[in-house]
């Protein structure tokens, strides 16, 4: 009888589903006969995403019993998910606020990178922009107000193309840090909101009159160590003399950019530490092992992935937190 079959099938399916593991941590056995097992779920900042993926790959090579799920959705999501227990680790690309610490946020720095202003390679005055750069004041005018401006205005060139400003629509560390650099925060940024770092990179690439901002490894291709096709970083004129002096000019390839971040030649903010956040100190063996690994063997992969290593003192103090 049709109904019998359906009923029986449904009962079987439901019981199978219920018993298979609908709890929050899934299968989580600790070290069994020396092998580490368990699952780790990670979500959050696009900034940390590529690094986390690389770390996961390498860590899983040594510990095949551990399964790690990573998704990106912005630093805000990482914090929310971590604090609510939705994920084991949140990736956060900005400073942790006191309110978040009060809610139970435990955080550990794992690497450094930076947010950089980006424009399209089709920009009509690209050469002049690269020679002169923009000062912080110009960025403030563009990103914090809605006054219309042309590309020619700030570099003394007769160009009347309107500047189209893009920002991030999702709650993220990149916008927060960029805002901080300009003296405010993400909310004060004005511009067309696009979701995600890849999103704004794409918008900048497609619109030749655009200006936006990106995490350094969404602007530079890890393989070629040069800017991704179609978009390029707009140099920051830090001393305000309306030229990019040799010591300000490190934007040619990824490695010189990273050296600049590490030495402090690139301003911080928007350079920043990147954190993993959890709700209280992590207790899952797999998670603790992963974090410890990151601060030891994991650091060797940082450079290749387009990030800046933490200083040795920083690493030891962070590792202390795990104990």
């Amino acid at each position: 009888m049709k109904t019998n079959v359906i009923t029986n099938f449904l009962i079987l399916m439901t019981s199978a589903m219920v018993f298979q593991g609908c709890g929050p941590s899934g299968s989580d056995k600790s070290k069994v006969s020396g092998k580490l097992e368990g699952t780790i779920s990670i979500s959050g900042a696009f900034a940390l995403y590529p690094m986390a993926v690389k770390w996961t790959e390498e860590f899983q090579k040594e510990n095949p019993g551990v399964r790690i799920d990573i998704s990106a959705g912005g630093a805000g999501k990482g914090m929310t998910d971590a604090l609510s227990g939705m994920v084991d680790l949140g990736m956060v690309s900005r400073e942790i606020s006191q309110a978040e610490i009060d809610k139970g946020a435990w955080f550990i720095a794992v690497t450094k990178d930076a947010v950089m202003p980006t424009i399209s390679t089709e920009n009509p005055v690209l050469k002049d922009l690269q020679a002169k750069g923009f000062t912080k004041e110009i960025f403030q005018e563009l990103f914090l107000t809605e006054n219309p401006h042309t590309w020619g205005e700030f570099i003394d060139v007769p160009n009347t193309d309107k500047i189209i400003v893009y920002t991030r629509s999702d709650a993220c560390g990149a916008a927060e840090m960029w805002g901080k650099y300009l003296g405010k925060n993400q909310e004060s940024l004005r511009g067309v909101g696009v979701f995600g770092d890849p999103g704004i990179a794409n918008a900048v690439k497609q619109d030749k009159f655009s200006i936006g901002f990106n995490n350094v490894n969404y602007a530079y291709d890890l393989k070629t160590r040069k800017n991704y096709e179609g978009m390029i970083v707009l140099p920051i004129d830090q001393n305000g003399n309306r030229t990019i002096d040799p010591e300000e000019n490190f934007y040619g390839n990824l490695d010189s950019v990273m050296a600049a971040i590490q030495s402090g030649r690139y301003p911080s903010p928007p350079a920043r530490d990147l954190y993993f956040v959890s709700n209280g100190k992590p207790v899952k063996p797999a998670v603790v092992a992963f974090l410890d690994w990151i601060l030891s063997s994991g650091q060797q992969f940082v450079h290749e992935a387009g990030y800046v290593e933490l200083s040795d003192t920083k690493i030891s103090s962070e590792r202390e937190k795990l104990k």
């Binding site: 399916m13 298979q20 593991g21 609908c22 998704s71 990106a72 995600g196 990179a201 794409n202």
Partner: protein
């Protein structure tokens, strides 16, 4: 006077012709643009591999995680919704048949529920998840999507069951069956092609919806092996990967779009076939 009326009529007839054709053209345009971008991206490795190097970033691999994830999610939620929806539809049309006002109230309720946007279900599902401490997972997604498609499923089934002649009910009862036997054995069998159409349509809605899974199911590169794990879905595969500046990542989005569109088209065709079979199948008293 007459001339003016004729011109007016002619004018509107032209407009009508244009607007009818416009709709067909738009549909073709949509399908064409998806295929145009997606077919080149489609390859065996695309549908048989998961993304390598992170779905936002890595250049190799494909969308198998999204395909399997979506299938798990949609099949799970469709089954669950059928388990809840089918009895309700049967109850309304077999047992409550005499209480017209009661049925009409339920129908009214269902019509109200029917239009509630999936994001409301998603937001609600997210709240429930936090309350119960469930992580973003296949299970959370299934529950949310099930709630979302229940009104759709029940309404569609109700439409089908409405057309089963009352005479059937009376005959069956007079032969000694209980009400629920009549419902599950007689009406079900009679209406089965139509009910299959309803199930297919609900499946189509379930697999294509993004707002309900955005908060609840998460996203991952892996294929889920248990209900407690997050899973990738085709709609989110498109949403997240579409706006990437990295070509290979964008390709995955377009490939997902094609796969999703093809699945929907196949379901539409199947649903129509079953609907036709139902028409032929119907007994009339």
């Amino acid at each position: 006077m007459k001339k003016r009326k004729q011109i007016e009529e002619k004018f509107f007839r032209v407009l009508m012709f244009i607007s009818t054709n416009l709709i067909v053209i738009i549909l073709l345009l949509i399908i064409f643009s998806i295929l145009y971008k997606g077919l080149p991206a489609l390859s065996w490795s695309m549908i048989s591999q998961t993304p390598k190097g992170g779905f936002y970033f890595g250049k190799e691999g494909g969308i198998l995680n999204a395909i399997i994830g979506s299938l798990y999610l949609s099949i799970g939620s469709t089954l669950l919704a059928t388990a809840i929806g089918l009895p309700v539809a049967l109850f309304m049309n077999v047992i409550l048949v005499k209480h017209k006002r009661f049925i009409d109230t339920i129908r009214f309720f269902l019509d109200l529920l029917w239009g509630i946007p999936s994001i409301v279900y998603g937001a609600f599902g997210f709240t429930i998840m936090i309350y119960f401490g469930i992580q973003t997972s296949l299970l959370a997604g299934i529950i949310t999507v099930t709630l979302f498609i229940i009104p759709i499923m029940v309404r569609a089934m109700d439409e089908v069951l409405k057309t089963v002649p009352v005479g059937l009910l009376e005959t069956s009862l007079s032969l000694g069956s209980t009400h629920s036997e009549t419902a599950f054995k007689v009406f079900l069998r009679q209406a089965s092609p139509g009910l299959v159409t309803a199930i297919l349509l609900s499946f189509g809605r379930a697999i294509g919806d993004a707002a309900s899974v955005l908060f609840t199911t998460g996203y991952t590169d892996h294929i889920p092996t248990s209900l407690g794990q997050p899973t990738a879905t085709l709609p989110l595969s498109i949403f997240f990967q579409l706006s990437s500046p990295i070509e290979e990542v964008q390709e995955r989005a377009y490939a997902s779009a094609v796969v999703l569109t093809v699945i929907i088209l196949v379901i539409s065709v199947l649903a129509r076939l079953y609907a036709k079979r139902y028409q032929k199948h119907k007994i009339n008293f």
